[in-house]
Symmetry: C2
Subunit: 334 residues, 2 copies
């Protein structure tokens, strides 16, 4: 299977590292995963015999730009998608929750060129789910996006495949590790939001501008993807009622604890409504997971409640989800 990787940031390199490290094991179990092109904003390395992944990673990590690689060329990403012979495009450019670009354009162009797509990019899916899925179907290609929600935690494919036959009645969960880290810290150490946020930033769990995480937009994008892909709804971020965690105090957490509860930023889909807000969660609930963990609970008609917990972020963790999608496609091509 020939793969083009679009975007060579933390996630793209994470995937390349895993494909390099696991080359023999993957080949033995599933056949060859050959990366024939890697693009970043500066240019592309194209090699039909297989890009040297180790070298590409080194150049990018040392110089910040792929174009500094001896074989790299300054070419347009769209030309790579159109002209390089590959079976699958892995789209892992930065997520843009306002426009979904440039990922949306790259994904649609891949479909048009009859290439399967695996993405980790929330933007296009949270904004244009229906259009993307219909285009994939029209072009008779696979479109997989397990990594967009919950990182390494199985969630989308779990609901659609492992729980096949069940009616999913509701989904609720902690889909953002940053807010979970902050609330856990506030609860345990009785520090205020600003202090916990600052520490999360120092540890790299929160960004310099933490708004997408702490104000709930990141969680909102994820529940839109779940609502559309799992529950067959047709929602966008504008349909989500969103409230973040800035107003939570250590006193509120202390009082909740005394009554047998904790407070978590929960994303919820129920009866067609999408909500992101701090909610009381019973201390003994499986939803009460700590630190940066993510968790999702499905309410279903047959299996009743099913809960899954995992790491919502990280280079190898996200690569794990992308890889499972690539293997899924590989099995269907051979």
């Amino acid at each position: 299977m020939k793969i083009t990787i679009i975007g060579f940031g933390v996630v793209g390199r994470g995937l390349a590292k895993v494909l390099y490290k696991k080359k023999d094991e993957l080949e033995k179990n599933y056949g060859e995963f050959r990366v024939v092109a890697i693009c970043d904003r500066s240019g592309a390395i194209i090699d039909e015999d297989g890009v040297d992944l180790k070298e590409a990673i080194e150049v990018k990590e040392k110089t910040g730009k792929l174009i500094n690689h001896k074989k790299a060329k300054k070419v347009d990403v769209l030309d790579v998608i159109r002209n390089v012979k590959s079976d699958v495009v892995v789209e892992v450019t930065p997520s843009n929750l306002e426009t979904g670009e440039p990922a949306k354009t790259y994904i649609l162009e891949s479909f048009k060129n009859k290439k399967h797509v695996v993405t980790a990019n929330k933007g296009p899916l949270a904004l244009y789910y229906k259009e993307l899925v219909e285009e994939a179907k029209k072009n008779n290609v696979y479109f997989r996006y397990e990594a967009t929600v919950g990182g390494a935690m199985p969630i989308i494919n779990l609901a659609k495949e492992n729980l096949a036959g069940n009616k999913i009645l509701a989904i609720r969960g902690i889909l953002n590790g940053t807010t979970n880290y902050i609330l856990t810290k506030m609860e345990k150490e009785k520090v205020d939001f600003e202090t916990a946020l600052k520490e999360a930033q120092e540890l790299g769990y929160a960004e310099a501008n933490p708004s997408q995480d702490v104000d709930g937009l990141d969680t909102a994008a994820k529940i839109v993807i779940l609502a559309n892909s799992i529950m067959n709804l047709n929602k966008t971020i504008k349909d989500v009622k969103i409230k973040g965690i800035r107003k939570i105090t250590p006193e509120a957490l202390f009082l909740a604890n005394k009554r047998g509860y904790t407070i978590k930023l929960i994303g919820e889909i129920k009866e067609g409504y999408l909500i992101v807000e701090p909610m009381l969660v019973p201390i003994e609930s499986p939803l009460n997971v700590k630190g940066t963990l993510n968790v999702a609970m499905f309410e279903t008609d047959l299996a009743k409640e099913v809960v899954v917990v995992g790491r919502g972020a990280g280079a190898e963790e996200t690569a794990s989800a992308i890889l499972s999608d690539l293997i899924w496609i590989k099995k269907r091509l051979s």
Copy 2:
């Protein structure tokens, strides 16, 4: 897809009820699931146009025997497997952890007759995993058994499909709802083992002879299945070091709690060793689930820890797992 159901106890009827209740929904989403034969110890109802499931369930629940149905015949199960035209045999006779029979014979005969098999039966898998899997492969048929471990909780297919590409380094979990119920009760109400067991029996969570549950054999059978199917080992129940929960006291639980732990009957597979024993679990660990819930934690190289929680027993819950396997096969036949 034509289905033969062998065994019409709680699990077999649970599946029949779900297929009846969800007939239209399933047909719309996946195509027809037509039950052409149902057998119990007394006889079989065979109808190539589709057995009337509602009627069959009523007769069995009112009289205890399928043979009392007006269309039922006294035939040998093996003849049904050989002679009734069907694509899949669902094998749900009672589990026998000593011989694996009669399930093992039924499953092998189904393979020989080129029929795919879905089973909820731990016995044959815990004793003869390798032989069964090889026979299925030799006859080029599918063999699925998600329901054998963890009931509705996705576990086997989750590890093999959703975590594909990961190396599973260890698995540990609570795979028996009865012992979890007893330990939870002892911890919360400070009652002793015998009292908690008695209540579990009154509520139907424990059997009159509770040995398989409380002495760990049920959990042992399940970790053998996980070890073989997920971690590619070749183990049987004899390879498991087993210790049950009879000696746990409320005092031990109280002391564990004081140190930030609880005690759970854990099945564990690590570095090739299979162990079932009461273990200390940190109170904040995702493995600390309450009541009759089951839980499993996978330690993997890429995704790191992934945890899944769900209901380990129940008619509809087990039917959910069987149905997901049937849908998986259906998708590959059409």
